[in-house]
């Protein structure tokens, strides 16, 4: 089983638009996993039916029983996250600041503090309009532990692929280089990096590629909006060559990408010219992953 993870470092480079287009091209050959759990958008293009939903619990939250509390202040004194302010004479847990370390409960002399498991979001198993399965999730606002929810989505997708005998899991990753991205990359067979020839695109690609390199994952790069800036494009090409990153495709700036999204379609269902490039690119990826095209 091959796990193809699409990431971008920088947001807004076209990662989700392209991943959704690949999903449409691959049809029922794949299982789709949307691991951008923080701002998941892929469902807007592929119409999942949300057939199966489960709450996801991870991490803890301190709760103080005010009827038992002696207001000694020990809990606030040991909290490194300033999460237990005193308000009108009562120690109150600030739910946003609490990291769930449990230290306060361990030092409370009257055992007034308990830790409860937090519901940080939901995950879903859906059939999408391409006739295949997608596993996706929604992180609760401000929630911690997005990396763990990402891991959950990937594991569920893997279980589906095993059960249905699918060879490919296509993963839409998240922006950045922090915990959700690290979680998206773990276990990946191949990484597709989506960038654009802007100073930010180049900068962010270099950083996220360092991470991919640390994981030792083979990768290729799509340069989207490739005609925005010739100088940065040349720098991007040189960087790919120097790092031995497969140069998968160059897709010119095309406002039809936005038009397609606005109409709830992927680019391969909307604009013939761009569709050709994206189709070639998907074939290229399959070749790199070692799958028959």
């Amino acid at each position: 089983m091959k796990e193809i993870v699409v990431i971008s470092g920088k947001g807004g480079t076209g990662k989700t638009s392209l991943t959704a287009a690949f999903a449409v091209l691959a049809g029922s050959d794949i299982v789709v996993a949307d691991c951008d759990v923080d701002a998941a958008d892929m469902h807007l293009l592929v119409e999942p039916d949300f057939a199966h939903q489960e709450a996801f619990f991870s991490g803890q939250l301190a709760v103080i029983d005010q009827s038992m509390c002696s207001a000694c202040g020990e809990c606030a004194a040991v909290c490194r996250f300033d999460a237990i302010p005193i308000i009108n004479g009562q120690y109150i847990v600030d739910e946003i600041s609490c990291e769930g370390c449990g230290y306060c409960a361990r030092v409370c002399p009257v055992e007034a503090i308990t830790n409860i498991e937090q519901n940080v979001g939901n995950w879903f198993r859906s059939e999408i309009r391409t006739g295949t399965t997608m596993v996706h999730a929604g992180l609760k606002i401000g929630a911690d532990n997005s990396g763990k929810l990402v891991a959950k989505v990937k594991n569920e997708a893997k279980a589906v692929a095993e059960k249905e005998g699918k060879e490919i899991i296509l993963v839409d990753g998240s922006p950045g280089v922090g915990c959700p991205v690290v979680s998206s990359l773990s276990g990946a067979s191949y990484t597709v990096l989506v960038t654009e020839p802007t100073v930010s695109g180049l900068h962010d690609l270099k950083r996220v590629h360092q991470l991919v390199k640390m994981f030792g994952i083979d990768c290729g790069c799509i340069i989207n909006k490739s005609d925005l800036n010739a100088d940065v494009l040349a720098e991007l090409r040189a960087f790919l060559a120097k790092e031995g990153i497969a140069h998968l495709a160059e897709i010119p700036y095309n406002e039809q990408f936005t038009a397609a999204v606005t109409n709830g379609k992927t680019i391969v269902e909307w604009d013939e010219e761009a569709a050709g490039l994206v189709r070639d690119c998907w074939r290229e990826i399959q070749t790199h992953v070692g799958l028959p095209t």
Binding site: Y103, I141, G178, N229, V261
Partner: protein
């Protein structure tokens, strides 16, 4: 006054708005721009200046000293993050899992786990013309952005008086790093684009700032492409649509080259002026 510039979706123009707004406002007021997108900081590509100061940023993690350790295993028991493992006759610490709560260290009966600094990133402070600019970048392989964001805000608080306009370029999304970057703000500006993705993620961002109880407004980028649903949503929700930045290939190309927009593109200047006026209104109409 603290102004956070945030967005649910990435790539909608946070850095564009932050850098242009900060540089423009610095022409007539004291402004510090801070890049809190520590995973992928980009503001510095647009506001290069003279480096005034840099410092490593550390997080505190336990370090095992075996001499007095009785191998009681209490450290493993009290760690809620599985960052400490007792393996045979040694104690292993997994720094990337540690949240720095100090429980293992302070609850160790033999004081065998003193906390030690471990570098997680670097803060730099620049002066670019009239503008102060602070950025922090997380080292690759460090997973937790929140502690670095917190320390960066602390640096800005300690080094700039309260009457400075402090503009924070926040990370994308709606999870813990965004909360850390916006929870101290006096005003939040949410920037989005007129597409289904932009609208969907704007709604999440609105829910976030409402939960934090912050006053906020929306700036619409790439106005003219996509559809009209973002303005309709703002109107229905009573959210001020502060300004629009037009969709234009010229803007995309100027951004691509790492240049500021407002001096050359009148529509961007008009938008930035409107946003600055909105900020001043929220500051009680004072000049700083």
């Amino acid at each position: 006054m603290k102004i956070a510039i945030a967005s649910g979706k990435g790539g909608t123009g946070k850095t564009t708005l932050s850098t242009n707004l900060a540089t423009f406002m610095a022409e007539s007021a004291n402004v510090v721009l801070t890049d809190l997108d520590v995973e992928e900081p980009n503001s510095g590509l647009f506001v290069q200046g003279e480096l005034l100061h840099s410092e490593p940023k550390n997080k505190m993690i336990p370090h095992w000293e075996k001499e007095n350790c009785s191998l009681c295993g209490n450290c493993q028991k009290v760690c809620n993050f599985n960052a400490i493992l007792k393996m045979g006759d040694s104690i292993m610490v997994f720094p990337e899992l540690c949240h720095g709560c100090y429980a293992c260290c302070e609850l160790c009966p033999t004081e065998s786990l003193p906390m030690q600094p471990k570098q997680m990133g670097e803060l730099k402070h620049f002066r670019a013309g009239d503008l102060d600019f602070v950025e922090s970048r997380l080292m690759i392989s460090e997973e937790q952005a929140v502690p670095l964001i917190k320390q960066t805000i602390d640096y800005v608080d300690a080094n700039f008086p309260a009457d400075t306009f402090k503009i924070f370029d926040a990370p994308p999304g709606t999870s813990c790093p965004v909360i850390e970057a916006t929870k101290d703000a006096d005003l939040v500006l949410l920037i989005t684009e007129p597409t289904p993705f932009g609208l969907h993620d704007l709604k999440l961002a609105v829910e976030t700032v409402r939960q934090l109880g912050k006053p906020f407004g929306v700036v619409l980028n790439r106005h003219g492409i996509g559809d009209d649903k973002v303005p309709a949503y703002c109107a229905a929700e009573g959210i001020p649509l502060v300004a629009c930045i037009p969709n234009s290939r010229k803007i995309a190309e100027t951004y691509a080259a790492g240049q500021l927009l407002y001096r050359d593109i009148p529509e961007v200047k008009a938008a930035v002026e409107t946003v600055a006026a909105f900020i001043r209104d929220h500051n009680g109409g004072e000049s700083s």
